[in-house]
Amino acid sequence: MTDPAVPPVLRLDDMSVSYRIRGRAVPVLSQVNLSIAKGEVYGLVGESGSGKSTVALAVQRVLPANGRMSGGRALINGRDVGALDRAALLQMRAREVAMVFQDPGRALNPSITIGRQVAEAFEILGASGHEARRRAEEMLTRVRISSPARVMERYPHQLSGGMQQRVVIAMALAKDPSLLILDEPTTGLDATIEAEILDLVDTLRREFGASILFISHNLGAIAGLCDRVGVLYAGRLVEEGPVRDLFADPRHPYTAGLLRCLPRPGLRKDLAPLDTIPGFPPAPGSIPVGCVFAPRCALADETCRTIDPPLVTTGAGRVSRCHHHDRVGDLPHAVPRAAAGTLAPAGASTGTPVLELTALSKTYGSAPYAVQALRDVSLRLMPGQTLGLVGESGSGKSTLAHALLGLIAPDAGGGMALDGAALAPEVRRRTAEQIKTLQIVFQNPDSALNRSHSVRRLIGRAITRLGGLKGAQREAQVTRLLESVRLTARQLSARPRQLSGGMKQRVAVARAFAGNPRLVVCDEPTSALDVSVQAAILNLLAELQAERQVAYLLISHDLGVVRYLSDWIAVLYLGRLLEVGPAARVLDGPHHPYTEALLSAAPSVSGERTGRIRLTGAIPSGVSPPAGCLFHTRCPRRIGPICDTEEPPFTADAHGHAIRCHLPRAELGRSLAPATA
């Protein structure tokens, strides 16, 4: 498909990279072959440790000091990067390759104005000071920054994450590179902002004609943006092909596994568990015999365990490193739950709610700089159910969780009740029973587990505190809990750093369940994990809920996760509830315009990009929230002055579905494909 006379913009020929760790060469990439044609967007997918970021570093020859390209070549525009002398290498980095990193906040110099930083990129290319500023302004316009002159006066911290990433992209494009490398460019950003950035990249690729290497663990983002995709597993390219074909009909069990792990529409906790990929990736440096994926593969047979499969062509432009690429469709699915629907069904339940919040508010600071993180939030959660709390950063999700857990005191006037009894704002005023009842699973197990303590101690202490058990009884309970989160006694004496991300999160779950809680706050429980691990943790949470009738307050920005686990969904924006209702009704519609935007921002692996609703503008500051409807500044369905002046009413229909919008329900958006099958 490429003209042989024009070399591909990037070509990797059997590229291998190893890192030297404690005197030993540990291979990170082995014999990776790929090529990116002019104007093509190539997606590189892989989970953490697969070596995808190493590819980005190696092609620019900026590996860390202990890294080395141990074999093969990387060619940019036909020239071997490894053979360039210093001057030519600098020239190549200055003019041909540009890179955008994950965290824009760290890629920008905090003490230099935006204008200065962007202009600098042009000055390096030889523009005079005045000329550079003019071109910087022009470039900021091209990345759709609406008032570039004003933005240029600002410092990076005065911009939102999405704006920062636009600036970084502008700087990268300044040199009109032939290859643009984007390494997880949207990972730290909110869903609506992520969608904006992905759209921007999609537009820019047409305007600039640059080839793009797009590195991501986010299959949805890749599906929507890339032409071709390569799947990296344990440093090997296991499958490659045109993105639509490959995602629609994966020919490698790992790719198939990754796609199936995603909680997709129509799948709910009470219908079937999510598919998972069993086992762990091989430890770096281990020398696999046969196929590297064989230990985790349901199709593996004797051939797979002895012979490393070559890359075989499986279709037009498609290759797979699998002996059984024609049988991938036969991979067994997870078994649907035997008694579907045995979990408490969503709907207007009766009885005492396990949690009831009435008019809960939280204000940080004092006037005129007061920030209202929570405004008048009222919610109820029935035993054994999940309430999904959705919102972008700054929406007050975490404030709500922290208030509930007694880590911060809410404003006077609101009320919290657990099992019908008032819940004191401070932990020390709560009864032992209330402390046992209410526990938490944090987002990042690295932060949530004390790195000095062993698993035995981490869980044992919680059992002593919450379950009141000591000695042999405690030991027995530790083992029981470990089993219920699918860990074994082998892990008892391990410390967190010796466990994989998923195992750590299991320990955190076990700890939260030490006192038989009735309500567990799950604060982004899977967002620090890889997708294959995410599926396993979600299954675990669903099973524990079914077994123990525990209620979850699930905080997440990932609608897939929320959809899979939730019975009720609440949408929070600037601390205000915009929509509350049974999960199916919130997901199917009628939606609040904000919910609708969130739903359509979530990228799907089918790669469909139609009917998306885009939000424009930044999330307003909590210091000076908009008057009237809080959402009117970004609302695509704003109807008129009433939105700017009057806050919409918040009344529930017969199903308990409430929407804070002036538009009549009949005019509100609905999902094209219902979320529940």
């Binding site: 890192y19 760790i21 770096p284 402390i435 004390n450 391990a494």
Partner: protein
């Protein structure tokens, strides 16, 4: 550098030992650490065993042989009342190597406690204690120590406590900074949600994670403690005569330097200097090894 690396997972249970062994292994391969620890060990051996192997009783005067230059009988010569300088220098290690580590221990323990409390509670506790510590830090240490010793009268326990307390603010500052980064981690919140008490969270949850900076701070303080105590002895507020001590010996003999009796002072000075250099070499290497 290590950020780009995938984490290896050693077999459970072995990692902590492996890490400890890693630190020790790195230290034993660092020349500056080896030099420092050799000097320290030499003086430690002297402190414990010197009285049994030195050629002369370090307390015995010999008024017929005062101020003798170094010779075959008296390697480092004799002092104003004829005591053997060589014996007194070796035995002199005992006083300084008892007082300095004890004072360092007092300072590190007190400083760690203060740092934990100020860092963990923050707010007005931090504001009040923090300002008090700043007042202490703004005064020259040696003057503060002198004032207290004048008020209480010099004695070994007083010196230990006074020097220790003078060092506590410095340790507290380091510990507080370490606590501040820890207390925002979720394991502290998890403990609070479990209903753990503040002392438990500080001592069982946070403390184990901040031991590396405390160890480093402690070894650095040891070097300063040796220096401070030698200075106090020199000024007459530390070790009291006739106990053999380097700072004291310099104080007693510097008056006769003008007469050319250099040996009464030079060896004690060199001993003090070598000990401080030894401690600092070891401390610096330890800091680097722990930082890796």
């Amino acid at each position: 550098m290590s950020e780009a690396l995938p984490l290896t997972e050693p077999a459970p249970g072995l990692a902590r030992e492996a890490r400890t062994r890693g630190v020790v292994g790195r230290l034993l391969r660092t020349p500056s650490f080896l030099i420092g620890i050799t000097i320290l060990l030499f003086w430690a051996v002297c402190a414990v065993f010197a009285p049994s192997f030195v050629p002369y009783d370090p307390y015995a005067d010999d008024l017929l042989n005062t101020l003798q230059p170094p010779s075959a009988e008296h390697w480092f010569g004799t002092d104003q009342i004829g005591r053997d300088v060589f014996s007194r220098v070796l035995v002199g290690a005992r006083a300084i190597l008892t007082i300095a580590p004890l004072a360092t221990l007092v300072g590190t323990v007190a400083g760690t406690a203060i740092g934990l409390i100020t860092g963990y509670f923050g707010g007005w506790v931090d504001a009040i204690i923090g300002r008090l510590l700043e007042v202490m830090l703004s005064l020259p240490l040696i003057i503060v120590a002198l004032l207290v010793l004048v008020a209480l009268g010099p004695s070994t326990p007083t010196v230990v406590v006074v020097v220790g307390l003078v060092f506590a603010p410095l340790v507290a500052r380091t510990v507080r900074a370490a606590v501040l980064t820890e207390r925002h981690l979720d394991y502290v919140a998890a403990a609070a949600v479990r209903g753990e008490s503040a002392p438990y969270i500080m001592s069982v949850e946070i403390l184990p994670n901040i031991t590396p900076p405390i160890i480093v701070e402690g070894t650095v303080r040891l070097g300063y403690a040796i220096f401070t105590i030698a200075s106090l002895s020199f000024l007459g507020f530390g070790v009291q005569p006739p106990t053999p001590d380097w700072g004291l010996a310099i104080a007693e003999n510097y008056g006769v330097l003008i007469g050319g009796f250099w040996w009464t002072v030079v060896f004690d000075t060199a001993a003090t200097a070598s000990l401080i250099v030894g401690v600092n070499l070891a401390a610096e290497s330890l800091q680097r090894a722990l930082a890796e």
